[in-house]
C-alpha cells in the first residue's frame, strides 16, 4: 500500500479538507480556526480553500458555540467543533452532557447529532493543572457519546474521517505533544473504524494496554523492553467507547498478564473500566492481578520535575511488566 510520511497535525488537516470537500454539509468551527489557521495549525489553509461559510471563527464562548453546533446538527448539518484544548470543553459541559449526549434518546430518535467535537487533551508540556486534564473517562461515562483517542498520524486521519461520517456525536481527544510526530499514513481515502482496537506491537510476554500519548510512549520504548528481555504486546484501544474488549481479551489469553498505562487519573479512570472488562472476560486466563499505571493523585504541577513525577514513565511500565511476570 502506498503511504505518505506526514505529521499527526497534517493528517488531521487532510482529514478535514477531504471530508469538507466530499460533503458540503461538513463545516468547522472554533476559536482561531479560520484567519489564524488554527491555534495549533490543524486547520491551516482551510479558510482560504473553503470560505467563511465552512470555516467559522467563534468567540471565546465554548458553551455557546457548542450549543450552536448541537442546533446545527439537529438540522442535518455536520459540524466539527474544535476546542482549543479539551480543558475548555469543561465550560461546555452542559451542552455536551445534557444536549449532545441525550438529544437522540430524548427525542425518540428524531434528532441524531452528526457532530464531532475534537481538540488536544491531556498533559502537554508544563501547561499546569487547569490545562492538563484527561477527560476521556468523563465523556465515556455518559451514554450517547462516542469517545476516540488516536495515537498515530494514520489513526488520527482515519478516525477523524470515520467520526465525521458517523451518526455521532463523537468526542475525539488528540494530544498536543503528538501533533508534531510523523508517521506513515496510507494514501487515498483512509479510514479507521470506530470501535476497533489496534495491536501496535505483537509479543508473547505481557499485554500493555495504552492509548493516546501513552501508546506512543510505550511503542517508542520497545527497545528498552527488549533489553530487559520482555516481549511486550501493545494494544491501543483507539476508541475508548465503545471499547473493543475482544481484541484486548485475545491478547490477554495469549500473555496471561496485563499492564494498563494511562495519562488520566486512577479513580474511575479509563483503565478501571478496561480492567473490569478484562476480569469479566478473561478471569481464568490471568496469572497475575492487572496492574494500572496512572497520573498520580494530585492536580498536575507546573514545575518540570514535579510534572514528570506525576505522569507515567517507561521505567514504571518496565517495573510493572516485570512484576506481573514475577521477575521483579
Amino acid at each position: 500500500m502506498e503511504t505518505q510520511q506526514i505529521t499527526y497535525r497534517e493528517a488531521l488537516n487532510q482529514a478535514l479538507a477531504e471530508e469538507m470537500e466530499r460533503d458540503p454539509l461538513v463545516f468547522l468551527m472554533g476559536e482561531e480556526v479560520g484567519a489564524y489557521n488554527g491555534a495549533y495549525k490543524v486547520s491551516q489553509g482551510l479558510l482560504d480553500r473553503f470560505g467563511p461559510m465552512r470555516v467559522l471563527d467563534t468567540p471565546i464562548a465554548e458553551n455557546g458555540f457548542t450549543g450552536l453546533a448541537v442546533g446545527a446538527a439537529m438540522t442535518g448539518l455536520r459540524p466539527v467543533v474544535e476546542f482549543m484544548s479539551f480543558n475548555f470543553a469543561l465550560v461546555a459541559m452542559d451542552q455536551i452532557v445534557s444536549n449532545a449526549a441525550k438529544t437522540l434518546y430524548m427525542s425518540g430518535g428524531q434528532f441524531p447529532l452528526p457532530m464531532v467535537m475534537r481538540g488536544p487533551g491531556g498533559p502537554a508540556a508544563r501547561v499546569a493543572a487547569q490545562h492538563s486534564n484527561s477527560l476521556e473517562s468523563i465523556f465515556a461515562y455518559f451514554p450517547g457519546l462516542i469517545v476516540v483517542a488516536p495515537s498515530t498520524p494514520a489513526d488520527a486521519k482515519g478516525l477523524l474521517k470515520s467520526a465525521i461520517r458517523s451518526p455521532g456525536p463523537v468526542m475525539m481527544i488528540e494530544n498536543e505533544i503528538l501533533y508534531g510526530v510523523s508517521g506513515a499514513v496510507p494514501l487515498g481515502d483512509h479510514t479507521v473504524p470506530i470501535g476497533k482496537a489496534d495491536v501496535k506491537k505483537t509479543g508473547r510476554d505481557v499485554t500493555i494496554v495504552a492509548h493516546g500519548r501513552m501508546s506512543y510512549m510505550v511503542l517508542a520504548a520497545a527497545g528498552v523492553f527488549a533489553r530487559e528481555g520482555i516481549d511486550i504486546e501493545l494494544v491501543d484501544p483507539r476508541t475508548i467507547k465503545p471499547l473493543d474488549i475482544e481484541t484486548i481479551a485475545a491478547s490477554v489469553r495469549k500473555t496471561h498478564r496485563v499492564v494498563i498505562v494511562e495519562e488520566g487519573h486512577r479513580f474511575c479512570g479509563v483503565g478501571a473500566e478496561i480492567a473490569d472488562q478484562i476480569y469479566s472476560t478473561c478471569f481464568d486466563d490471568l496469572d497475575a492481578p492487572i496492574v494500572r499505571i496512572t497520573h498520580t493523585e494530585n492536580p498536575l504541577p507546573y514545575a518540570r520535575n514535579l510534572e514528570a513525577a506525576s505522569l507515567p514513565n517507561v521505567d514504571q511500565v518496565v517495573l510493572a511488566a516485570k512484576g506481573v511476570l514475577y521477575r521483579a
Binding site: P143, G144, Q277, S280, T281, L286
Partner: protein
C-alpha cells in the same frame, strides 16, 4: 418453571465429581428414576437418577470435566421451549441460592469489591471460604450478563457475558487449614495437566502458586530430563483420574500423620493348605481361597484382640464391636478396599462368595458407598505375585493393616533337624497411638496359632 440441576453429593466425603457420560441430550424428556448421567467420584462410577421429571434443556458441563459438588451442571425445564436465559445467567455466576424466577441483576452473595489500593502488586481479593456444598465461586464475581442498553447508533457498549460457565467451579483450597492461593490461569493449567495444585509451593506473593510453578511441577513430576540429558528425551504425562488422586491423598495423609510400626511373624501353612484341600475334595463346588481362610482367621483374632479393632480419634480411642474387614482389591484404575461386614459372624462359604462379588464390583467400578466405606481392619495380600514380605500403609482411620505374602517352600527347623516346610509371612502395620508392640505381637501370635491349627477356629 425451569431449574438448575447441580452436581450431587454421592458420598459423605465427595467434594467433586466428573460426568463420565450424559445419558440424555438437550431436548429429551426424562422421567423420575431415569438415569441422567454417570458420575465418577473418587471411589466409583455411579448412576445419577432423577428425582424430578421434565425436559433437559441444556447441559452445562462437558464429560471429563471435574466439577465441585453443588455446581450447576444442567438445566431442567417443565417444557421444551420456555425461556431459560435468566437461569443460564445465574448458572454462570454460580448463584448460591438458585431462584429461577428472579432477575439476575445481582449475583447472589456477590462479595463486596476489595479496596483498591494503588500499585497493588499482590493480594488476591478476600473471598469467603466456601463450604463443600456451596457453589459460590470466589470474588470478584462478575455481574450477571445484562442485556445491552437500548441500541444507539455506534454508541452502544454492551457488557460481554462472563466465561464462568465454560470452566468448572473451583475447589475450596486448603493446606494445613491455611488457604492455598493460586492464580486463575495457574489453576486452569493445573487442571489441564491433571495436577493436584494444593500440593505445590507457590513462588508468587503471599505464596501464590503461579503458572510458572505449575509448569515446573508438571515437568518435574513426570521425570523431566536431568540437566545435560539429550534434548528430546522421551516421557509421557498421564493425567490423574479421581481414584489415583484419592489414593495419593489418603496414602500421603496416612504416612504423614500415623506413627506406623511393623511386626512380622512367619507361619507354617501346611495344615491350612491341607484343610483347604480337604474342603475342596468334599465340596468341589465350593471355591475357597487362602485369602478367604485368612479373613476368617483375622475375624476370629480381632474378636479376641479388640485393641487391634480400634481407631484413634484424637482425644479418645474407639473400640469397635463390629468386625468389618476391608479387603484390598487391585483394579486397572488403582487400589480399592471393599468391606466385608460382620466378618466374624459369617461362615467361610459366605465369606468366599461375598469377597468374590465385591472384587468383581470393584473391578467394574460399581461399588456403592456402603460397600467401600468404613471397615475396622484391612487385609492386603500380594502373595499371588510372589512377594515374600511387605509393609502395608494403614488405611486411615483404622489402627492396623495385615500384609500377607506368598507361600514358599523352604528349609525349616523341626526339633534339631531340618525339614522342608511351607511358610508365609504376616506383617502387621500398626498405629502406635492405639496399638503397642506387645499388643501387635499378641495379635500376630493368635493369628499364627489359628493358621497353624485351623481346627482351633471351632473353639
Amino acid at each position: 418453571m425451569a431449574s438448575l440441576l447441580r452436581m450431587p453429593s454421592l458420598s459423605p466425603t465427595m467434594e467433586s465429581g466428573v460426568i463420565s457420560g450424559w445419558r440424555k441430550q438437550p431436548g429429551e424428556h426424562i422421567d423420575v428414576g431415569e438415569v441422567l448421567a454417570e458420575i465418577e467420584t473418587d471411589k466409583a462410577v455411579m448412576e445419577w437418577e432423577m428425582a424430578d421429571e421434565g425436559y433437559i434443556r441444556q447441559l452445562l458441563v462437558e464429560p471429563g470435566q471435574e466439577v465441585r459438588v453443588g455446581t450447576p451442571i444442567a438445566v431442567l425445564g417443565d417444557s421444551a421451549d420456555e425461556d431459560i436465559s435468566t437461569l443460564l445467567a445465574q448458572a454462570r455466576t454460580g448463584g448460591a441460592a438458585a431462584r429461577p424466577d428472579s432477575a439476575p441483576a445481582r449475583a447472589d452473595g456477590a462479595p463486596a469489591r476489595p479496596d483498591s489500593a494503588p500499585a497493588r502488586a499482590d493480594g488476591a481479593p478476600a473471598r469467603p471460604d466456601s463450604a463443600p456444598a456451596a457453589s459460590t465461586p470466589p470474588a470478584p464475581t462478575p455481574a450477571a450478563a445484562a442485556p445491552a442498553a437500548p441500541a444507539q447508533p455506534a454508541a452502544t457498549s454492551s457488557r460481554p457475558p462472563t466465561t464462568a460457565a465454560a470452566h468448572p467451579a473451583p475447589v475450596a483450597p486448603s493446606r494445613n487449614g491455611e488457604r492455598v492461593k493460586i492464580s486463575p490461569y495457574g489453576r486452569k493449567l493445573a487442571v489441564q495437566r491433571g495436577l493436584d495444585w494444593r500440593a505445590l509451593t507457590g513462588s508468587g506473593p503471599g505464596g501464590r502458586i503461579v503458572a510458572h510453578d505449575v509448569e515446573t511441577a508438571a515437568t518435574a513430576g513426570t521425570g523431566a530430563p536431568a540437566p545435560g540429558a539429550a534434548p528430546g528425551a522421551d516421557f509421557e504425562d498421564l493425567p490423574l483420574n479421581m481414584m489415583r488422586k484419592a489414593i495419593a491423598r489418603k496414602m500421603t495423609e496416612s504416612k504423614q500423620t500415623v506413627p506406623h510400626f511393623q511386626a512380622t511373624r512367619k507361619v507354617r501353612m501346611e495344615r491350612m493348605l491341607a484343610a483347604r484341600e480337604a474342603l475342596r475334595q468334599d465340596y468341589p463346588d465350593l471355591k475357597v481361597t487362602v485369602n478367604d481362610l485368612l479373613i476368617k482367621v483375622c475375624a476370629a483374632a480381632l474378636r479376641l484382640h479388640p485393641v487391634v479393632n480400634s481407631q484413634f480419634l484424637g482425644d479418645r480411642i474407639r473400640r469397635f464391636h463390629a468386625v468389618d474387614i476391608a479387603v484390598a482389591v487391585s483394579t486397572d484404575d488403582g487400589l480399592i478396599t471393599p468391606v466385608l461386614r460382620a466378618a466374624d459372624q459369617k461362615g467361610l462359604r459366605r465369606i468366599a462368595e461375598e469377597v468374590r462379588a465385591l472384587a468383581q464390583k470393584a473391578r467394574e467400578r460399581k461399588l456403592t458407598p456402603e460397600e467401600y466405606q468404613g471397615g475396622t481392619f484391612t487385609l492386603s495380600n500380594l502373595g499371588m505375585f510372589g512377594v515374600t514380605e511387605f509393609n502395608a500403609i494403614i488405611n486411615t482411620p483404622q489402627a492396623c493393616i495385615l500384609a500377607v505374602s506368598a507361600v514358599v517352600k523352604e528349609p525349616v527347623v523341626e526339633g534339631d533337624g531340618l525339614a522342608v516346610g511351607q511358610t508365609m509371612n504376616l506383617t502387621l502395620s500398626s498405629d502406635h497411638r492405639v496399638v503397642d508392640g506387645v499388643a501387635a505381637a499378641q495379635f500376630l501370635d493368635t493369628l499364627a496359632r489359628l493358621i497353624q491349627n485351623p481346627v482351633a477356629l471351632l473353639l
